[in-house]
């Protein structure tokens, strides 16, 4: 009996369960406050917004899992830059989709590679390396934007992101689901995944066991850049055209989504399923605050305060005594 109750208590404390129950509670609350909040079309819309944050958070999650203070502040810059690149290359024509996605992926991979090389070869702390890279990317954004004023999304991409694709669910959400499955497989079923956890929990031990830690860490940063690039590419499908520094609003929220999903910033523990729930939780929370029809000041205050309360549910640090 005690064992059963402890295992239930453990289950209830699982970040994924916490996040899912909070999402449900918030949806109920939203429906009570404004009927129609939890309607299926509204939920679809929420999921589309969450999926973009979720894709950024996938890369962030990988980098954080890899440990050694892994964090990627440059994702915001990559998202903005690839949104502009995508818009400029598509110019509203479907023929531009493939070149645009390839260009975005290459851009993300390139800057991720630079981050990874700085962090491994020169052993620059990830926070500093990616903070500096963020400045470079924001500068590059100015250069790229001044060439062509503003690009347009290809109609095919806009349809894929916003319109029902299969079983009434937009392609973007399918894509996110597929990324979720792939991430779970990658992390739990492949050698690469095991090695990510290995370097994240104890890098020295992993190195002694022959894990090529630097190579793995570099590929985590490359993947992070590529995920951010995919998100930037999809944003333009959602918004229709590129606008300035759209990625800034994803930088820290992508980290929050990872933390709310149960991956501690120290790395080595957690996974992407929780992060997906964390991303949905963040978006549902923001959406409820928008629905409440209070002014910006109250909305920000409530958002910050709720985040603080939510964080109390997750891996708090150990007390120094005992």
């Amino acid at each position: 009996m005690t064992r059963l109750s402890t295992s239930i208590a453990d289950l209830v404390r699982t970040p994924l369960v916490v996040a899912l129950s909070l999402i449900l509670a918030l949806l109920l609350l939203g429906e009570l406050l404004s009927p129609g909040f939890a309607s299926s079309s509204q939920i679809m819309r929420l999921l589309i917004v969450a999926s973009i944050l979720g894709v950024v958070a996938a890369g962030q999650n990988l980098v954080i899992l890899g440990g050694r203070e892994g964090i990627d502040l440059s994702v915001g810059g990559v998202v903005s830059l690839s949104a502009v690149i995508a818009g400029n290359m598509m110019q509203g024509s479907d023929a531009g989709i493939i070149p645009a996605i390839l260009a975005c992926l290459a851009t993300g991979a390139f800057f991720g590679l630079l981050n990874g090389l700085g962090v491994t070869l020169l052993r620059i702390p990830p926070l500093i390396m990616t903070l500096g890279m963020l400045g470079v990317l924001q500068g590059l954004l100015v250069v790229v934007r001044s060439g062509i004023p503003s690009g347009l999304a290809a109609p095919g991409l806009a349809r894929f992101v916003t319109q029902p694709f299969l079983f009434g669910v937009p392609g973007m959400i399918w894509l996110w689901g597929a990324i979720g499955v792939l991430m779970a497989l990658l992390l739990r079923r492949t050698l690469f995944g095991y090695r990510v956890y290995a370097i994240g929990s104890n890098e020295n031990a992993a190195r002694m066991a022959g894990v090529p830690a630097d190579l793995i860490r570099i590929s985590l940063f490359v993947l992070s850049g590529m995920f951010a690039a995919v998100a930037g590419f999809c944003i333009i499908g959602y918004a229709g055209s590129s606008f300035s520094n759209v990625g800034a609003q994803y930088m820290l929220p992508s980290i929050i989504a990872v933390v709310l999903g149960g991956t501690p910033l120290s790395g080595g523990k957690g996974g992407y399923t929780g992060t997906m729930a964390g991303a949905v939780l963040l978006i549902v929370l923001q959406s409820i605050l928008t629905t409440l029809n209070i002014e910006e000041a109250g909305r920000q205050f409530a958002f910050g305060a709720t985040l603080l309360v939510l964080m109390l549910f997750y891996g708090r640090g150990k007390a120094l005594r005992g």
Binding site: V136, E296, L307, R316
Partner: protein, 324 residues
């Protein structure tokens, strides 16, 4: 560990003065600026540079305290914004006389300090990760700032910015503030507190086991951070002469960059307050150099970004080489 004599002597010099590499970069940038545009080294130009970057200098020194104890405060920009609007609105409400300005500034400093204490209680008391927790408290502070003044624009009395931009005994007012900051740093690094703070940052558990009140020391660092962010806000008011509920938010990451440029490791336990102030000036000089070097306007941000990244990386490498 056996080390050649000269290296260890070098090392002890750098250990006592960890801002030396930053000072070197600063001097190099001053020379580069002077070569690119001799007028940029004029008395007036230097005064202008300090006037613009004084707020960031305060903010960088503020950030240093929490970084020393191996924490980080991503809400400093939001605290700056909050204090900015509180002071500006209070001056307006109290009638705009000299008394009201003084009172408003005092309240502003108090608000900043309280915001810092709140951060400390949240991060240390509730044992949350500082990066995410101070991001959240920053949103709370931004909410408060928007409540105090929803849109940017309320002007401050002429006397305020006239003083900040003016001269006393023929010497620009901002130079006195710089001296004040220098005296503060000079006093701060001689306190027992800073040694305890470094000990906590170096090894929290060991500090606790040797009997240091770790919790109180860390909360105090956040409080000092809030206090100095409030002074940064007063500088911003002097520079911009108006209230803006989000004026400081973009400065948060620059404060972190300035701390790193100043030779302080984010892992805590070592570093230099003076270095952080120098780091803020380095950021300013990089920007002005890119401008004076004739980089076309659309490439300026990129060139600045690259230069800052290179300086950050060089700073980390040099600091590590020295402390090894």
């Amino acid at each position: 560990m056996s080390m050649p004599q000269s290296t260890s002597r070098q090392r002890s010099v750098f250990e006592r003065f960890p801002f030396i590499p930053a000072l070197g970069i600063l001097v190099a940038l001053l020379i580069l600026n002077g070569i690119a545009e001799p007028r940029s080294m004029s008395y007036g130009a230097i005064t202008g540079l300090i006037k613009t970057y004084l707020a960031l200098m305060f903010l960088a020194v503020a950030q240093s305290f929490v970084v020393f104890s191996a924490d980080i405060d991503l809400s400093v920009g939001a605290i700056l914004s909050l204090v900015n609007v509180v002071v500006v609105v209070l001056i307006e409400r109290l009638g705009g006389g000299p008394d009201s300005v003084l009172l408003a500034c005092l309240v502003g400093v108090l608000v900043g300090t309280l915001a810092g204490v709140f951060n400390g209680l949240v991060v240390v008391g509730l044992r949350l990760q500082p990066i995410v927790a101070t991001f959240a408290t920053g949103i709370v502070f931004t909410g408060l700032a928007l409540w105090v003044l929803p849109v940017a624009g309320m002007p401050v009395p002429q006397a305020f910015w006239r003083t900040y931009g003016g001269r006393i005994f023929e010497i620009p007012f901002v130079f006195y503030v710089v001296i004040l900051l220098a005296v503060f740093i000079w006093l701060a690094v001689r306190t027992k507190y800073i040694i305890e703070l470094m000990a906590v940052g170096d090894n929290r558990l060991a500090a606790y086991q040797s009997g240091l009140p770790v919790t109180r020391i860390r909360i105090k660092a956040f409080a000092l951070c809030g206090l100095l962010s409030a002074f940064a806000a007063l500088c911003i008011i002097g520079d911009t002469a108006s209230g803006d509920p989000v004026v400081g938010n973009a400065m948060t990451l620059y404060s972190v960059a300035a701390v790193v440029l100043g030779g302080t490791a984010l892992s805590g336990g070592s570093g230099s307050l003076l270095g952080s102030a120098i780091g803020a000036l380095i950021l300013g000089l990089i920007n002005s150099f890119v401008f004076f070097a004739g980089v076309s306007s659309e490439w300026q941000n990129f060139a600045q970004g690259v230069a800052v990244l290179v300086a950050l990386m060089a700073g980390v490498l040099v600091t590590r080489r020295i402390s090894k």
